[in-house]
Symmetry: C2
Subunit: 445 residues, 2 copies
């Protein structure tokens, strides 16, 4: 029997260039979140199974990877642990467990993989990273405003210039459905239909409203009330909503305060934004990018979830950035800086012969002390073969120290792009290479 050497279905091996792209994106996300006062948290890969079951609905339950009990219990087929399905439920557990150690306003970011046993498809994985921020402990609209500002700053820093932050409110959705004459028992179905507006258009949603038992008149009223007008300034949309729900409607006032406090210019109040998850209780938001189906992330306020673990409600608001999609789009659009990829090595030290291999190690060490990333060719070999290997790894420079160089106290440094070879004093070699690398960087940018 031969064992497959592919990674399991729906998972990926990340080779060095993949990791560098991922580290770049994670670095930007982390730096911005830290600048907003979010602090890092990490939780275990698996949770006790009862922590996760029942938190994600029937469909979610089916997608949870379950771990067999160990030892003699293995044969019962019983599972007692399960892989993390998202970062929100573990956060709720952590808030309940460490409530006395955590600050009153706990703002954390968490960047870790999650696992869902979805059918693998293009761009859909069973193991993927989530990048979440959540702010616990305050109902203030400043919380939402800062979340919107932080997320917008990340996207701008990564080079996105065509995104919108769609903003809506759970109570606005309910108010508009009531105003359209949809009875409360049909709200859930109506929101599921509305959530597909992007994909199937107004006519499709109309059909689905009817199929879900909503009258033609109510369906038409809905489509009018939920109309999303591209380019409409938030203040105008809000006054449209106030016209329907009343000037002192609390959810409209909440949205107005969020918009007023946020400095991000990309906000659009969008009455048709529904968001799938049932635990949201207030403002909801989602990032849309022109010409891209689906979103780059979403979130909202959920003032009830933590109470499931703690026994008393604590207000909370969070946002999950879609890192995997961000990386896909940045790769397709060629948005990564040139410096992100590459072999990660500045210079390769050749090994002249066996007698001099100890000197090669010493040379590599001294170049590293000078701040360079140095590959040492691991064994004596024909110089031509060593050059060819360095070329194949995209190493820009190669250092040669033969008998002549040793006698003269110099190093021969070959620029593999131009083919030029220069003799440099051994003690100045690291600085010489560093200067050349910086000059090239300036030319590229």
């Amino acid at each position: 029997m031969t064992i497959s050497t592919k990674p399991p279905a729906g998972t990926r091996d990340f080779l060095p260039d993949d990791i560098r792209r991922r580290q770049y994106v994670i670095g930007v996300i982390r730096e911005v979140y830290e600048s907003y006062g979010y602090v890092p948290l990490e939780t275990p890969t698996f949770e006790n199974i009862e922590t996760l079951l029942g938190k994600y609905g029937d469909e979610g339950n089916k997608l949870i990877f379950k771990i067999l009990k160990r030892g003699e219990h293995e044969h019962t087929g019983e599972a007692d642990l399960a892989l993390r399905y998202d970062l929100t439920v573990p956060l709720a557990r952590v808030v309940a467990q460490y409530q006395n150690q955590l600050p009153k306003f706990f703002k954390r970011y968490q960047i870790q993989p999650v696992w869902r046993a979805d059918r693998p498809a293009k761009g859909r994985f069973r193991e993927f990273y989530q990048c979440d921020i959540d702010a616990i402990g305050s109902t203030s609209p400043l919380v939402e405003a800062e979340i919107i500002n932080a997320v917008s700053e990340i996207l701008v820093t990564l080079g996105f210039n065509d995104f919108t932050v769609r903003l809506n409110h759970r109570t606005v959705l309910a108010g508009l459905l009531n105003a359209a004459g949809v009875s409360a028992d049909l709200h859930g179905g109506a929101l599921v239909a509305l959530d597909k507006l992007d994909k199937i258009g107004a006519a499709g949603v109309h059909q689905e409203f009817l199929a879900r038992g909503i009258s033609d008149a109510a369906a038409q009223a809905c489509l009018k009330l939920f109309e999303s007008r591209a380019g409409e300034p938030p203040a105008e949309t809000l006054s449209r909503l106030a016209g329907v729900l009343g000037a002192d409607d609390r959810s409209v006032r909440n949205l107005s305060e969020i918009v007023a406090a946020a400095s991000a210019k990309q906000i659009r109040v969008d009455p048709s934004l529904a968001r799938g998850l049932s635990y949201y209780t207030g403002a909801i938001m989602e990032i849309a990018v022109a010409d891209l189906a689906g979103s780059l992330g979403g979130g909202g306020r959920y003032d009830g979830l933590i109470g499931m673990f703690l026994g008393r409600d604590i207000p909370a608001c969070g946002f999950s950035l879609g890192m995997e999609r961000i990386i896909v789009v940045m790769t397709e659009r060629n948005m990564f800086p040139a410096t992100v990829a590459g072999g990660g090595v500045d210079i390769m030290v050749t090994v002249w012969n066996e007698a001099l291999q100890g000197d090669a190690v010493q040379l590599a060490a001294s170049l590293r002390q000078g701040g360079l990333r140095v590959e040492l060719y691991p064994e004596p070999d024909k110089l031509g073969k060593q050059f060819k290997y360095a070329s194949s790894r995209n190493v820009p420079f190669v250092a040669i120290e033969g008998d002549d160089e040793r006698a003269a106290g110099t190093i021969a440094i070959k620029d593999l792009k131009s083919g030029d070879q220069t003799s440099v004093a051994r003690s100045e070699a690291a600085e010489w290479v560093a200067r050349r690398l910086q000059a090239e960087l300036r030319t590229e940018n």
Copy 2:
């Protein structure tokens, strides 16, 4: 039923200060490995179960966390996936899968958690990080020399000054056992006994040799041949070994070449070093720290393992740093720089009242643009309460912008340690704080 909010047995939640310590250690490890030309790799959390089974011996098999099949197959109790048990088997799979994409000399580092269903105990976890380097494709002693140098550099950078790199060779072990008159079928048991020398001493090992069927004469000869002499220079130990195994013994020559090429000063050739894992074929090494039972990491050459996946052997040598132990020792010895811990926030912006909360968001944004990490108090509140909150989070400065300050274009900045309050021009506030923070850092160091 109340659900436990503790993390599962043997796993840990990492709160912000924990993460900062871990990130510091990982940062040093990564930077040194990158400077040696190692490139990053990450593999999935779980592997197909047949990839892992049979690679770690019977004991290892029992410690593997297995994942239930999903959907209708769940009820069969069958497992098709399993959590990563180490980083070496996934590497072997990756080398086989991507052999045409990877360089001939593939040197990778991998820093990811692994899972073992060991009985949890103090300092022993079921989820813990491994930090591995492996160099694939060369049998040269320069590979071992560079691994020793890199690992030593990491430990020195982290502040360890009392460690030794114990170095031995699998064939030396076999040669010494033969020389002592231990028959080949008893070698395995003899090595298991020898491995306990640190824990149970020479007398204990002697007893265990006898219990394993080794004659008293052979046992005594063993203890003499395997004697490890603290402070003995490598050259002397090597000539002792050459005296027993012959001047041209290949394994002694190999060790001599490794010692000659490595620049790390902490090497000690130790004939008693056995290392548990059965897949080693050449040099083996382990980090010992004075007054510390167990090691901070270990590794060795394994020229046969990759062949299990690839069908043909490829030489390889690797080292696994014990990051969890390193963190435990550094915490106990108070080795972390003062800058590693802390709230991670430079200044907190207070919210004067509801009318001015938008201005507070703007002030926070402008301080962030000046490079500061800024926490915004999320809601209007009594100033005293806001100060107290900042104090509890160890934030060094607090910014206040009331009506007077707005009129004058200034910010009041309060130093929470000294209690001093200073009025600073709004446009110069970020720079003022940055200067003060740097000055404090200089005083602390």
